[in-house]
């Protein structure tokens, strides 16, 4: 197991990773409450970004509707808890199954009938929008008035029902993000990982080499959707309230993909680096605005826009590939690699 995980990773990379892990593990000991909430947000975006990256970064299928899977996961687990008292550790299986089923439906419709590229992206948006409107009218789930989880009177941290302090959520989120990272690392070095990269680079050539591209793309959507839904489960139990207008909104889908785009699509570290950069910078910006007493609604979105513009113009591969090279780490497997003489 260990050699499988560390094979081919430069020593320097392992050391950096170890140092980074220790810092993350120790963070709640020193971080203020506010900083901790920011870090939870960072980890959340790193996690869902990693999940989205499987589809876009590995298999080359652009989804602009990943809020659908977040929302399905959140609502499935929350509804089971609110209506039947079923805890999140059981609920998450239903969450994953619902999201996987939705992903499989979209994937089947698109890949069976040759819907690709922009049209595929539009289809993913359409499904997220259907869900938003549908859940808005689904009174059993609170409809547009929202679904609320009971928050009162918990004594201490209860990991079984995910009722507890931000510190508990921080560690759960950290475990999830770390698992997603390891899972993606393993996937990328497995048969299916190579198949995804091949499909991303040239579907025709991949097919000529014996790859069943329909099946591989289906696996990518289903895995990505199921993973994303777990982010939704945590989202529901952390925020304790769900509104279709918010969870399924397209801006949520966009927010979720900014991390991997800015960090580096198709890389393992990119979604994490991107989530760190974006979330901390955006929060810092809001803090500064608050401190000087300026209230500009939408400033975060404008900021995201500028970040995106900057990356597209100056770092088309994202922040991580050049950063990784600067840190003395070679080309990562699956890295899109822009060509010029890289070995």
């Amino acid at each position: 197991m260990i050699p499988l995980l560390t094979d081919g990773v430069p020593r320097r990379g392992l050391k950096l990773l170890a140092a980074f892990s220790v810092a993350l593990l120790a963070a709640p000991l020193v971080a203020s409450d506010y900083l901790l909430t920011v870090l939870i947000l960072v980890l959340y975006f790193a996690y869902v970004g990693q999940a989205w990256n499987i589809m876009m970064g590995f298999a080359g299928q652009l989804s602009l509707g990943h809020a659908l899977y977040v929302g399905l996961g959140a609502y499935a687990a929350a509804a089971l808890y609110v209506h039947f008292g079923v805890g999140p550790w059981l609920g998450l299986w239903v969450a994953m199954a619902s999201a996987a089923a939705a992903g499989a439906t979209i994937g089947f419709l698109a890949f069976r009938f040759g819907v690709g590229g922009v049209y595929f992206a539009i289809l993913t948006i359409a499904f997220a929008e259907f869900a938003r409107i549908g859940f808005d009218h689904w009174s059993w789930l609170g409809g547009s008035a929202g679904l609320f989880l009971p928050v009162a009177n918990y004594g201490g941290n209860d990991i079984l029902t995910l009722r507890g302090s931000p510190t508990m959520f921080y560690y759960v989120m950290l475990a999830m993000t770390a698992s997603a990272f390891v899972l993606c690392h393993v996937l990328l070095r497995s048969r299916i990982g190579y198949y995804w990269l091949a499909i991303r680079e040239s579907a025709d050539a991949a097919q000529a080499l014996g790859i069943d591209i329909f099946r591989c793309k289906m696996v990518a959507v289903v895995v990505s959707a199921a993973m994303t839904s777990l982010g939704g489960v945590l989202f529901a139990f952390y925020y304790n309230n769900l509104f279709p207008e918010q969870v399924f909104h397209i801006s949520r889908s966009i927010e979720l993909i900014l991390g991997p785009i800015i960090g580096g699509i198709g890389t393992l570290v990119g979604p994490i680096v991107g989530a760190f950069l974006l979330t901390t910078l955006a929060e810092t910006l809001s803090e500064i605005m608050r401190a000087v007493g300026i209230d500009l609604p939408g400033i975060k979105q404008v900021f995201y826009g500028f970040c995106l513009l900057g990356v597209v113009m100056f770092l088309p591969d994202g922040v991580w590939p050049p950063l990784g090279r600067w840190l003395g780490l070679g080309r990562e497997e699956g890295d899109r690699g822009s060509g010029e003489g890289k070995r």
Partner: protein, 241 residues
């Protein structure tokens, strides 16, 4: 000799344009057959029909006696046909090693075994120095070799090569010719090649098939076919006369 590949009366039209018309030929097991003809004769279309990229309007394709027409390209590959693309389609963002590895996965049950296989084939194709380079950084002749390496890595019984020697220097062509000879002799690999470089075709082929305007106008031993007046007129004319 039994036929490994049998093409039986295939026709294919593209919105009125008849690219293939009742084309039939056989490729015996263990042979190297050249498919030649002028530009636009339908050679690549013929490959695409065999490989499952396009569906023929009529006719049958059989591999070792079993029908494969109507199959998807990946199924055709798994059945034992490896093909290269005339317009090379490398996995541009992946390294040479990763490119060939993807092909080798078709022949191996584990990633580890596929890596070893890919390494050997990269060596054979003379790409060892480039194994870590991304495919986008290769020169055109190198990309042609990568195309061959990938197809070969899938472990085919029949290798279909679409103008892999176009644009190569004479020494590089000789190297490729020697490689295909070795593969044919040592592994019994059957090869069907489309090629305009007559030097290579004549050096390799035990039989030739000539296509013109989507029809087979001659087929048989190279010496016979190249002496055929119809072939001389439509294809070899300028060079031979």
């Amino acid at each position: 000799m039994t036929a490994l590949l049998e093409v039986d009366g295939i026709s294919k039209s593209f919105s009125g344009l008849r690219a293939l018309e009742n084309v039939s030929f056989r490729v015996p097991e263990g042979s190297i057959i050249g498919l030649i003809g002028p530009n636009g004769a339908g050679k690549t279309t013929c490959f695409n029909v065999i490989a499952g990229v396009s569906r023929a309007d009529a006719g049958e394709v059989r591999l070792a006696g079993a029908r494969i027409d109507g199959w998807r390209p990946d199924q055709v590959c798994r059945a034992g046909i490896g093909r290269t693309f005339q317009l090379v389609k490398p996995f541009a963002g992946l390294s040479v090693m990763e490119n060939v590895l993807v092909g080798a996965l078709n022949a191996c049950s584990s990633v580890r075994a596929a890596k070893a296989r890919a390494g050997d084939i990269i060596e054979q194709l003379g790409l060892a120095e480039k194994r870590g380079a991304v495919a986008a950084a290769l020169t055109l002749p190198e990309r042609k070799r990568l195309e061959v390496a990938r197809a070969l890595a899938t472990g085919p019984r029949l290798l279909m090569l679409d103008e892999v020697m176009a644009g190569l220097r004479p020494t590089e062509t000789d190297h490729m010719v020697a490689l295909f000879r070795t593969l044919n002799a040592n592994l019994g690999l059957t090869i069907l090649l489309i090629e305009h470089v007559m030097r290579a075709v004549m050096a390799l082929s035990s039989g030739l098939i000539v296509l013109n305007h989507g029809q087979v106008i001659a087929a048989g031993p190279p010496a016979e076919v190249t002496g055929d007046p119809a072939v001389l007129e439509c294809y070899l004319g300028e060079e031979a006369l």
